[in-house]
Amino acid sequence: MQEYKFTINSKFILKDVFELKLTCDEPLPSMIAGQFVHIKVPGDEVLLRRPFCLYRWDKKSISLLIQVVGKGTQRLAKLKKGDTVYGIMPIGNGFKLKPSHKKIALVGGGIGVAPLLMIPKSCLGREQDTVKLTENMIVPVKQTIKGTEIRSYLGFTTKAKTILSTGFSSVSEKVIITTDDGTYGIKGYPTDALKADIEAGFIPDVILCCGNHNLTKAVQKICIEHNIEGYMSGEERMGCGVGACLVCTCAVKVGGGQAKHLRACVDGPVFNIAEVVL
């Protein structure tokens, strides 16, 4: 873990989300899906760093997909090509797959879909098409690797908020988009679509999810009811991001025992969903 100095190589704005591609002169450590970078917001006004998962990584650059929500992300949205930004990484454990995980369900809500998009590559070596963020369509699957099957369930509030569907369709066998208001894809939540698939006989070996409290709770229920292994990344507020201040803790019943307060930054942010007290 160390602080890197990045240069904004490109910026792409899509609705209230923007993508930053950050390059670094130093070689970057290898990172997997679910790990994050703790970004120093430029200027003196925002003091606490902001955590963002990577959604693309290579040896020379990382890409972040950032939703504008408050002061910090508004300031980051003002960054331009060529600007400098500092970030600490790699932080956290990230999403991992076991060899027994052949049927994989990815469940994401809103901006929570971004880190999931890296899973097929970082866990299974599936290469993404060079996807443009603007493309919003489901393309036919081109690859199936090592007998694995990935289904992606992506939920958004409304059509205008849907992102990355093309990216997911280039690395999953099936992509299901849901919107709360039914303006795009299926009306409802991604967990409704997952439940329907399970009832139709697609029993995932593992469910990986990222999103807000309601989503992770719904996924937890499914995992427990159907006895499916699951892992989640939540939205704990962070302080130091390095494991020292204990403000980011999550109650986790490790091995089914008594709940312990684990640090989401360095012990997580990915936890076994059945063990998390939500």
Partner: protein, 328 residues
Amino acid sequence: MSINRNKLKNKKALVNETQSSVANAEPNLEVEFCGKKFKNPIIAASGTFGFGREYNQFYDVSMLGGISTKGLTLEPREGNVGCRIAETASGMLNCVGLQNPGGKRFIEEELPFLDSLDTIILANVAGNTEEDYVALASMLAKTSVDMLELNISCPNVKEGGIAFGVNPCSVESIVKKVKAVSGDKPLVVKLSPNVASIRDNALAAEQGGADAISLINTLTGMAIDYKTRRPILGNITGGLSGPAIKPVALRQVYEAKRAVKIPIIGMGGIMTASDVMEFMIAGASLVQVGSANIYNPMAIKNIILELTILLKECNIVDVADLVSTLRA
């Protein structure tokens, strides 16, 4: 009048002379405090630095004057549930609630690492009852920690901590009892800023036998989400820290210094070397840096490097010369 002026002039000339002859020398950062030698006046503040391991990945933490450990209690504590941090203008609120491994596991699992460092270790002692404080302090007094820092000012645990720190009588009583079991470990008493009179509490600590006082702990505050009308913090209230509290901290260090003879460790919102100098001018012999670590893991290293440069710029040869030099 004219004589006085001449005297003043001569004194100035003398100062200028000595200053120019040492202008290139490295200023002395070493401070002797309660019989312990600190490499420099900067200590990592309790609760923001864990037990030193995490920041040791970023720089050699042996370069610090000292490290104050996370607040320890006799038994392990899981701390508060729910959200523990809220960002505020120029600061932050926290309600960690003294999550710590307990005295026994601290000694077994964390102290060996701290021992391997070449820096002064302050064990931050907290508790729910006087008996707990006494039991933990006497347990720690038998270890290799250099000093004890009695935390009677944590605003985030209902049953205790702060309960002992508000009333001067209870401050004196608990300090006396802990001092009796501290053996040869200097006892620093960490005061709460959430009190009627910091003077009275500083005096009470001194009277109880404290070797030094440290202040300030966090100021009690809260944050509300107007949309949900809910408190942001799981504990509803929390402790405010960071640059927002610096003016309050400076004032309290200044007032405490005028009340007591024992030395003071000042803290609250220190972000830069000039902040360190301001606290020392107000009366602190040493300082602690807390939230700045959370904002930037390299914070203290940068402050120490910056302090040397700043002292040179101000022609100060010994950092200790700054203490209590506030001019009229």
